[in-house]
């Protein structure tokens, strides 16, 4: 393709970009942003991550270092899929504070410190300028490919003229569309739409080349895979190095947030956090598509092109060498798109930082006392400062490129920028999640990280000083990354712990971390006449029309006519936020304070601020508590309902059981009473039947007694007669009373008389009842021969007593052990011996009334019960020691 046609096509493409940006800006300014706000546009604009480094350099990287290039795509993928909630939080906080750049975010969080912002700006400029140079270099190189016939001797810095044209054109574009307005939300619809379009061109170009390489040059995917495998085996650098991989993953994950251009598109240009829901999967998908054909292109380049061809240019030289001129042109446009979109966004971000944190504060300092009527127009100054900064960044980038003669590998310079900006991350993340983080910590962390980065990574990369000597086997880059980030974080945490945050910082910390928005009360409400100087100031920043509109709407909100609202805290906060969107948080804060806040904050003001913040926090907590309370009440109601339902079912079952237990003896009584009237009955029968009636009547009486007893015990109405008693006597009496049960069985009773001489304070009659019940049960059910009953008494830790009553029978099967204390537990028991199954239920209730309990001890050989008594029974509200 002739060089002139290339230039013409290129200019046409540039004109298209200008047109798109212009149309989008116009649509947005007329309030018809519509599809411009679509999450897809946002997602595509994120692809500014894939700069010329990724477009050209990834293939070069892959051909030098094998699979390692993939980390550059994996880091962001991990961040977007694994930490999407963190990104949402970041965008939410940044939107609320009208943050304009990463330096502004850090400054806003740490007490609106402009020094911190200026420092972060410095790092960004140092890290990013070579990166901009890199893009210019890649564009120049790609022009060279078309301009020369030989693939081998492409000069590194030969395209100085081309680069100058490119830099000039980009500066013009950036100034035109990057500084059109000073909108409070600092969004650039035109630029974003243009780079979204460029993102599509990038992707299509790369995919088209990939398809050509796999199906045109190689013989389909299978052939491609075997070629890759062959290349991999002959190449030691393809091995995975865990330390380097981890370091690169961390750094590229950090870069996707912290690089100035990434922060610009990810946070500043985001209309709201919701579009991250789409970007969360769509951006990783885009990265995946961009990385798919990197290895095939690298391998085919190595195999088909002369060995001295520059791997960074394989994407262009491969199609050119195969005579695919149109494909080469498409690829060229893709690379051109990658470079230009990166440069434009990066320059905008840097220019915003430079003007907001370097130039405007300087201007304010020089004009400390802006009197009303001051002809100086701040709006004009800010816009011009940005234009100047854009021009300067571009110029420095070009000069850097010319001076260094270009770097040999595109990828190296990109990594330098990545690692530099990563140093801001600990302070940023810490500021979002930790209220204790403060300015001293942020300064220390960023400072330490910056110094280490400068010494270990940046300066060696530009040939000043040698890279630090490291033990063999340790990767120097990985070591530098880990060391700088670790010491950075350590310094950040350390000084945050030992330093005191100032009040503004405390407030911002509260707002960033707990999402509570403290209302500023530091400036007292004053009359509307005070608003005039603020309006004058705002007009300088936004221009007369925008400022007037804002003041009018604020006045209307307060119910005032005209355009001068009262200086309420709400108004001042909103004004400051809006101003922060144009000039940065620190400057806006200083500006409003200089007009409305008097001089410095007084101590009582600060107390009020702290008080207000505390109250806001308490209010939030109160609401939270109320909400939790409501949820709890609802749950309790639900539980109560379930319980009532269960109780009703239980009651029915209980009534059915009582009915059965009453009707059974009554049936015998009734039937035999009738039979007794039969005339020809033998005397023996008559006696026997009368005895049955007598026994069954007794059974009825006992049942009724038990039921009454149980109901009294369960309702807690039982009168306890608490008195000191000797346990030995009680056991003695219980044994003799229980011997009436199955008197024919002779039990050996195994006791420890000494241990039994223990005084207890309890209701002895009730305890006796329990003992008799348990011992009688043993007599009834113990099936061993000879039967042995053992009674062990032990003092428990808190002054209570434990009585274990164990027999040597077959015990109670495990499945029934949990049921035996339930009412009518014996109902379906084949071995039921006349009782209704209320005995143990009564025992349990008695022990509960006495403040102790009765439990079944599994695994003791036979049936084993433990009766535990407290030192003395609790005193219930309705019972007590009245009869004691």
């Amino acid at each position: 393709m002739p060089f002139e046609a290339l230039v013409a096509g290129c200019l046409l493409y540039v004109a298209l970009m200008f047109g798109v940006a212009f149309a989008a800006d116009r649509a947005a300014s007329r309030g018809r942003a519509g599809w411009l706000d679509h999450p897809a546009v946002y997602t595509l604009s994120l692809s500014v991550y894939c700069s010329a480094w990724t477009f050209y350099g990834a293939v070069g990287y892959a051909s030098r270092s094998g699979l390692e290039f993939a980390t550059i795509y994996l880091g962001p993928t991990v961040v977007f899929t694994g930490a999407w909630w963190g990104l949402r939080r970041l965008v939410r906080v940044a939107r609320r504070h009208h943050v304009t750049s990463i330096a502004d975010l850090i400054s806003a969080r740490y007490g609106k410190s402009n020094r911190l912002a200026a420092f972060v700006t410095l790092i960004a400029v140092i890290a990013a300028t070579p990166y901009v140079a890199l893009q210019l270099q890649s564009v120049s190189l790609s022009f060279e490919v078309f301009a020369t016939d030989s693939l081998a001797d492409i000069p590194m810095a030969g395209g100085g003229g081309t680069a100058l044209w490119v830099a000039g054109g980009l500066a013009l574009f950036t100034i035109l569309f990057g500084t059109r307005n000073l909108a409070a939300d600092e969004r650039h619809h035109g630029v974003v739409t243009a780079i979204a379009l460029e993102a599509i061109v990038k992707l299509l170009a790369f995919l088209a080349l990939g398809v050509f390489v796999v199906w045109g040059l190689a013989d389909g995917p299978a052939d491609m895979l075997s070629r890759i495998e062959a290349a991999a085996t002959g190449h030691g650098g393809w091995l995975l190095k865990p330390d380097r991989w981890t370091a690169l993953l961390v750094v590229s994950g950090a870069a996707v947030i912290a690089l100035p251009r990434m922060f610009q598109v990810l946070v500043v240009e985001a209309a709201d956090e919701d579009r991250l829901a789409v970007a969360g999967w769509a951006f990783p998908a885009y990265l995946f598509a961009m990385s798919l054909f990197v290895l095939p292109i690298a391998v085919m380049g190595q195999q088909l092109l002369p060995p001295d061809a520059n791997p960074d240019l394989y994407v262009l030289t491969l199609p050119a060498a195969s005579g695919q001129n149109w494909l080469a042109f498409l690829v060229f446009l893709g690379g051109f798109s990658a470079a230009t979109s990166m440069v434009v966004v990066c320059t905008i971000a840097l220019a915003t930082m430079i003007s907001n944190h370097w130039l405007v504060p300087l201007w304010l300092m020089l004009r400390r006392k802006p009197q009303s009527g001051d002809p100086e127009d701040l709006r004009g100054f800010v816009l011009n400062a940005r234009r100047l900064a854009i021009g300067a960044v571009m110029a420095v980038g070009w000069v850097y490129y010319q001076a260094t003669g270009g770097t040999a590998a595109l990828a190296a310079m990109g990594l330098v920028a990545f690692t530099g900006m990563a140093q801001v991350l600990p302070a940023m993340i810490g500021g979002l999640v930790w209220r204790g983080a403060n300015r001293h910590g942020a300064f220390a962390g960023v400072g330490v990280g910056f110094a280490l980065w400068l010494a270990m990574i940046f300066l060696p990369s530009v040939g000043i000083g040698a890279p630090p000597s490291v033990p063999s086997g340790v990767d120097p880059l990985a070591l530098a990354i880990f060391l700088s980030l670790a010491l950075n974080t350590l310094a950040f945490i350390g000084l945050s712990i030992f330093g005191m945050p100032d009040p503004v910082e405390r407030l911002q910390g509260l707002s960033f971390v707990s999402a509570v928005d403290p209302i500023r009360h530091s400036r007292m409400a004053r009359g509307a006449d005070q608003a005039e100087p603020l309006l004058v100031m705002a007009r300088r920043v936004w221009g007369a029309e925008d400022a007037l509109r804002f003041f009018q709407s604020e006045a209307a909100f307060q119910g005032r006519s005209g355009y001068l609202p009262d200086l309420t805290p709400r108004f001042l906060t909103r004004l400051e936020r809006r101003l922060a969107g144009s000039v940065g948080a620190a400057t806006a804060h200083a500006m409003i304070d200089s007009v409305a806040g008097g001089a410095e904050l007084t101590v009582s003001d600060l107390m009020q601020v702290a008080d207000e913040a505390q109250r806001a926090k308490e209010e939030t907590q109160r609401l939270e508590t109320a909400r939790a309370e409501l949820a709890r009440t609802a749950r309790q109601l639900r539980e109560a309902n379930d319980k009532l339902t269960a109780l009703s079912v239980q009651k029915d079952a209980f009534l059915g059981q009582i009915s059965h237990e009453l009707r059974t003896p009554m049936t015998s009584v009734r039937a035999f009473s009738e039979i007794l009237r039969t005339p020809d009955l033998s005397d023996a029968d008559r006696d026997r039947f009368a005895k049955i009636i007598y026994d069954e009547a007794g059974r009825l009486t006992r049942l009724l007694d038990d039921l009454l007893d149980l109901s009294v015990l369960e309702s807690g109405q039982a009168q306890l007669s608490v008195t000191p008693a000797n346990l030995h006597d009680l056991i003695e009496r219980a044994l003799s009373a229980a011997s009436a049960t199955r008197p024919e069985r002779v039990f050996r009773v195994d006791r420890e008389p000494l241990a039994e001489y223990v005084g207890v304070i309890t209701d002895p009659d009730r305890l006796l009842q329990v003992l008799i019940n348990v011992i009688s049960n043993a007599r009834k059910y113990c099936d061993a021969e000879p039967p042995v009953l053992s009674i062990r008494v032990r003092r428990s830790l808190r002054g209570g007593v434990q009585i274990d009553i164990v027999d040597n029978g077959s015990g109670i099967e495990a499945a029934r052990q949990s049921l035996i204390f339930e009412k009518f537990a014996r109902l379906n028991d084949p071995a039921r011996a006349g009782g209704a199954g209320l005995g143990l239920a009564i025992c349990r209730e008695i022990m509960a009334n006495l403040g102790g309990d009765i439990t079944y001890l599994p695994g003791q050989g036979g049936a084993a019960f433990r009766i535990a008594l407290p030192r003395r029974p609790p005193v219930p509200a309705n019972a007590g020691l009245r009869r004691a």
Binding site: R663, T664, T667, P830
Partner: protein
């Protein structure tokens, strides 16, 4: 052949019922557990079964269902009189031919058995 097989675990009730019905001239057999109840019916092939509902191990209702599902059609059709102590409110399965709530009048029992045996 047995006239009546009674399955009832309460010994006193069983004795009363047996006494009443034996005096009417019927031969009455007794099985005192839910377990083995259906086998006892199969073995005795009685003309009438008197079945208590609440039995240890297997309830009368279960035994009744088993009986009605027996592959011997004539056995499955054996008339069954159920005794329940749960009151009228919880009269058991409709598969029974008659239900008698405890406590009952002896005449009532006699009349019901007579009707079922005819």
């Amino acid at each position: 052949m047995l006239d009546i097989l009674m399955i009832e675990d309460e010994p006193n009730i069983a004795e009363a019922v047996r006494f009443i019905l034996t005096r009417e001239g019927w031969e009455v057999g007794l099985h005192a557990d839910g377990l083995g109840g259906i086998e006892a019916i199969r073995g005795a092939k009685p003309r009438l079964v008197i079945l208590d509902v609440m039995l240890p191990h297997r309830s009368g209702t279960e035994i009744l269902a088993e009986l009605r599902g027996d592959h011997d059609a004539s056995l499955a059709a054996t008339p069954v009189l159920m005794l329940t102590a749960r009151g009228q409110a919880t009269l058991p399965a409709p598969q029974a031919d008659a239900v008698l709530a405890k406590p009952f009048a002896n005449d009532e029992l006699r009349a019901m058995v007579r009707r079922m045996l005819v």
